[in-house]
Symmetry: C2
Subunit: 246 residues, 2 copies
Amino acid sequence: MTLVSTPRSGAPTLYKRIRTDIEKRILSGKWPPGHRIPSEHELMKRYDCSRMTVNKALTELAQADLIQRRKRAGSFVHRPQVLSAVLEIADIRAEITALGRRYDYRLLVRRRRAASRADRSWLGVEQPCDVLALEAYHSADGIPFAMETRLINLDAVPEARQADFTRESPGTWLLTHVPWSEAEHRIAAIGADDKIAKTLHTAEGSPCLVINRRTWRNGQTLTAVRLVYPGQEHQLVARFKGRQAA
Amino acid sequence: MTLVSTPRSGAPTLYKRIRTDIEKRILSGKWPPGHRIPSEHELMKRYDCSRMTVNKALTELAQADLIQRRKRAGSFVHRPQVLSAVLEIADIRAEITALGRRYDYRLLVRRRRAASRADRSWLGVEQPCDVLALEAYHSADGIPFAMETRLINLDAVPEARQADFTRESPGTWLLTHVPWSEAEHRIAAIGADDKIAKTLHTAEGSPCLVINRRTWRNGQTLTAVRLVYPGQEHQLVARFKGRQAA
DNA sequence: CTAAAAATAATGTATAGACATAATAAACCT
DNA sequence: AGGTTTATTATGTCTATACATTATTTTTAG
């Protein structure tokens, strides 16, 4: 008897049903952290399906970190220690135009030089290298939105030498031209110094949100950037939705 | 001829090898965004394995958002629009003790009341409900670390009535006692007002990092919290590592 | 009584084949 | 030429089975 087929019209597929069934029990608290989930064999019987189907559901739950699986012991509801959320930092142009505001960008400084000690320390590289130092300014409807200070490692991204950053911001250019494998963000609040205050038209000492980002590809630093936003006006939003609910 | 088995001692499993092979090509830029990935049939031949194995590798790459798959058309390297990173906001106690510093916590205010209009707006609920309003203070080695202002929706979390928040912080208690399905963070920089300055021993107007978090379970708001950190001293770190490299 | 060996229970990976679904391309008929 | 039907291609789900791996228990031998 081999009844292959999935004609449950409209309904989601079986493995998804199994996954969300378990997900609901966990998120509602019915199955608290540490609770043991029925074994694959038990679920096979309960849903009258093959083990592979059950396995696919449980594997996804494990990848989403909702459960932990141990051989011989079974699967258990995971005990979360930290609150983690997905932070999406959009390209500034996209962010502004999405709000229906007029985006404007101006390149203030573009200098190519051998990396100074400070440059190397910021990029986190040891050996000497050439860098492109950039400063730029983003505005929405003519109102200052963010100030950008950036170093590009020219040994890692030689194409940047030819790039024209007077029209397109380095962030946009890099995102579309250079693949990367790893990034680190450091977010802090600072008081505006003299330069920031002038560029963003705020008072000296006024609170600003700062994002420091470094990006790597295969262990090589590609770029380091500091984005300064005038305080209250800008918020970073990180949303964590039920652990990748389809 | 059915040669089932995976005795490649030491080596990672086949589907993982396929996945990382493709991952490397994408992250190195060899296969740029938009590039078409060999079809499952082609990969079957290339790796001399069954389609399910290839499918598992490609499905994981699609879940990690490295590729996009379209029926009939094939699989393509994804063109990323936003830079997304996983932000982990640890429990404050864990954060401080992890740094090897002495953690101290003090509950300043605990008041139960019917939700005011301001309370309801902050929680994002319409109907009247009971809330627990809390204010607390966290320190590391006696130095002010963060100030916490929180509302707990008692209709959603009735157990909180009995909880003793004088020893354990509400954040820790909630994390271990109440399952949640969704959370939203809003991060901004503000200047310290009178109250913040007094609590955190900083000057009025000095920059502070603020995290506003709201947490839900099945659409019901559980709690809203505002954490204020003294500016420069605290940084949020979000790291994005090669799209879930195993 | 204890250390070594064997059975066992759970998850992990893989196969070969089947049917389902979606999007496109080709053939066909006005 | 343009619209309709049919074939094709690639992904998506599912089955039934096999062997692998890991961590226990249970049994057995000294």
